[in-house]
């Protein structure tokens, strides 16, 4: 568990994200530089944007394996969501497998001319306020009313400026909770919650599925009767030019879909059992060949 938290924060480092372009040697294969007339060179590179969220890794690895089978090189660049969308828009990145909607609507609006939602991956991603299972009396956000003291009047969220940070503030206001949201990062939030759960103290934080913390910690998403947290949809987002540059990849991605359970099971293998992400993905591809074949366009 700690390992995943550590990796998460290490990677979620915004600073790291900022310099990621400089560090990643694969970036010199910027997609728009690569196509110099060679229609089907077979050596084109498809660049995947990878956010530090655990949910991004499995679908990205699976898609990368398939795209490599189609004869392309792939590269993965780590950055936080904002930078991934900026990279997609500028053409440095071609594909992002983990676009969350409506949470990421603001990015799609900002870059509507250059990026598009290509396929619906799954539409039953849960998100919301999370408390430990040992808090028997708290089953909905309303149950927190009047109990804010025991939570130290604090709610733990992810980064300052993330779209869900505003939503959490709205929740606090709408439910008239006497709480302040403390923002840090995914890893920071989880570490703080774990610290408090160590001594079975009350704690409320933001959570979403798929996420391995639901396997590692006894926690529950509590009800939200006022509809702040509907199930999210996860889409594949691509740069507009991908359809021209690599039509077969584009078609494969537009057929993409993957079960939330499948993704969570891969996350657990990667994080719980410390297995190599690529290896887990390869195994999955092998076992689900039929499903993959249905997504791949027929030759000519």
């Amino acid at each position: 568990m700690k390992k995943s938290v550590l990796t998460l924060v290490t990677t979620s480092a915004v600073l790291a994200a900022l310099t990621a372009c400089g560090e990643n040697e694969d970036v010199d294969g910027l997609s728009d530089e690569v196509d110099d007339g060679d229609d089907n060179g077979g050596q084109e590179e498809i660049a995947f944007g990878v956010t530090p969220w655990t949910s991004t890794v499995p679908p990205t690895e699976v898609a990368a394996i398939v795209v490599e089978e189609m004869g392309y090189d792939t590269a993965q660049t780590e950055a936080d969501a904002g930078n991934v969308y900026t990279g997609l828009s500028g053409g440095d990145l071609d594909v992002f497998m983990d676009g969350w909607f409506p949470v990421h609507d603001n990015y799609i609006e900002q870059y509507e001319d250059t990026i598009e939602k290509t396929a619906l991956s799954y539409d039953d991603a849960e998100a919301g306020w999370v408390v430990p299972e040992y808090m028997d009396d708290i089953d909905s956000i309303e149950d927190i009313q009047g109990e804010e003291d025991s939570f130290g009047n604090e709610f733990y969220g992810i980064e300052e400026g993330a779209s869900v940070t505003e939503v959490n503030d709205d929740v606090i206001e709408e439910y008239e909770l006497d709480m302040t949201q403390v923002n840090s990062s995914e890893g920071g939030m989880i570490a703080e919650s774990m610290r408090l759960m160590e001594s079975e103290e009350p704690v409320a934080f933001y959570g979403w599925r798929p996420h391995s913390k639901f396997y590692e910690l006894d926690i529950k998403i509590i009800d939200d009767d006022r509809g702040f947290f509907d199930d999210d949809e996860v889409h594949v987002v691509t740069n507009n030019e991908l359809a021209d540059q690599a039509p077969d990849v584009y078609e494969f991605l537009s057929n993409w879909s993957m079960d939330i359970d499948e993704i969570e099971s891969m996350i657990v293998e990667i994080e719980e059992e410390g297995r190599d992400a690529r290896e887990v993905a390869e195994e999955w591809v092998e076992e689900n060949r039929d499903e993959i074949d249905e997504m791949i366009p027929e030759d000519e």
């Binding site: 700690k2 936080d80 300052e160 400026g161 890893g187 920071g188 570490a191």
Partner: protein, 276 residues
């Protein structure tokens, strides 16, 4: 190269989760509470006075130690902080910087003195300092939260680890640079070791020590954004906010405020070093 398997990962996890946290969480909570009230006290003091009073104090300090030009810069800087409405955040950042600098200096200068006096201490301290300066911050950021909770306290701890080495190094260097002749002369006049240290070596090393303090403050300010990732309030969270929303303007607004504070504190501490 994989001759044998080093289970460092498991060991560390065991050490932190199964030994350190269960046995010492009370101890760390106590440290955390003390530091938190300290940071809060400094923040509240800075915010208690009207912004104009704080600004005036810093402008006068700039004038006295660094000259009229810097005073004008400070004035414009404070007007900027007010004009982009980041006063509270600036004071929150300033208080974390002040508290961590204070701890760094209180612990770093004596260690530097010891290292200058004793070659064995120096040999032991050096690799520790290298370690503190180069171990990526994010490696100890999360353990800091596990031990001290979210907020200003882990930020102070992380800043302390990162910003203390120059205080130690420059103190060490400053004392060693005091010329042999001066020391011999003092000895000849019958100075005891204590007198030698307090009345000769430390005063002569002061410019170098102040240069170390100056570096410590600069490093502490450069941690502002990182600190906001572990829940410390301040200018860093404005920058982080800007970054995650791809709001370039907001990022620059907060970033420039950090630069303003940095230049001002840099000039003032440099000035103090030269005047002394």
């Amino acid at each position: 190269m994989n001759y044998f398997n080093l289970p460092l990962e498991d060991w560390t996890n065991w050490f932190v989760n199964d030994w350190l946290l269960p046995n010492f969480s009370g101890f760390f909570d106590a440290i955390s509470a003390v530091l938190a009230s300290f940071v809060d006290a400094v923040t509240n003091t800075l915010l208690f006075f009207p912004a104009e009073v704080i600004a005036l104090i810093f402008i006068l300090l700039s004038w006295f130690f660094a000259g009229r030009g810097v005073a004008v810069f400070s004035l414009l800087g404070f007007i900027y902080l007010g004009a982009v409405d980041v006063w509270i955040e600036s004071m929150q950042t300033l208080s974390i910087v002040l508290v961590s600098t204070m701890i760094s200096v209180l612990l770093g200068v004596p260690v530097g003195i010891l290292a200058a006096a004793n070659a064995k201490v120096e040999r032991a301290v050096r690799p520790v300092l290298d370690f503190m300066q180069t171990l990526p911050i994010f490696v100890y950021l999360i353990p800091a939260i596990l031990l001290f909770g979210l907020g200003g306290v882990p930020a102070v701890i992380a800043t302390f680890v990162f910003a203390t080495p120059p205080a130690v190094r420059m103190t060490n260097l400053g004392i060693k640079q005091v010329s042999e002749d001066v020391i011999e002369a003092s000895r000849a006049y019958g100075a005891t070791s204590k007198q030698l240290l307090l009345k000769v070596q430390l005063p002569l090393a002061l410019p170098s020590i102040m240069a170390g303090v100056n570096q410590t403050i600069m490093l502490a300010l450069s941690m502002a954004v990182v600190a906001s990732m572990i829940g410390a309030p301040g200018l860093g969270s404005i920058v982080l906010n800007g970054i995650s929303q791809v709001n370039v303007g907001l990022g620059l607004t907060g970033g420039l405020a950090i630069v303003v504070l940095a230049i001002m504190l840099d000039r003032i501490t440099q000035g103090i070093g030269q005047k002394l």
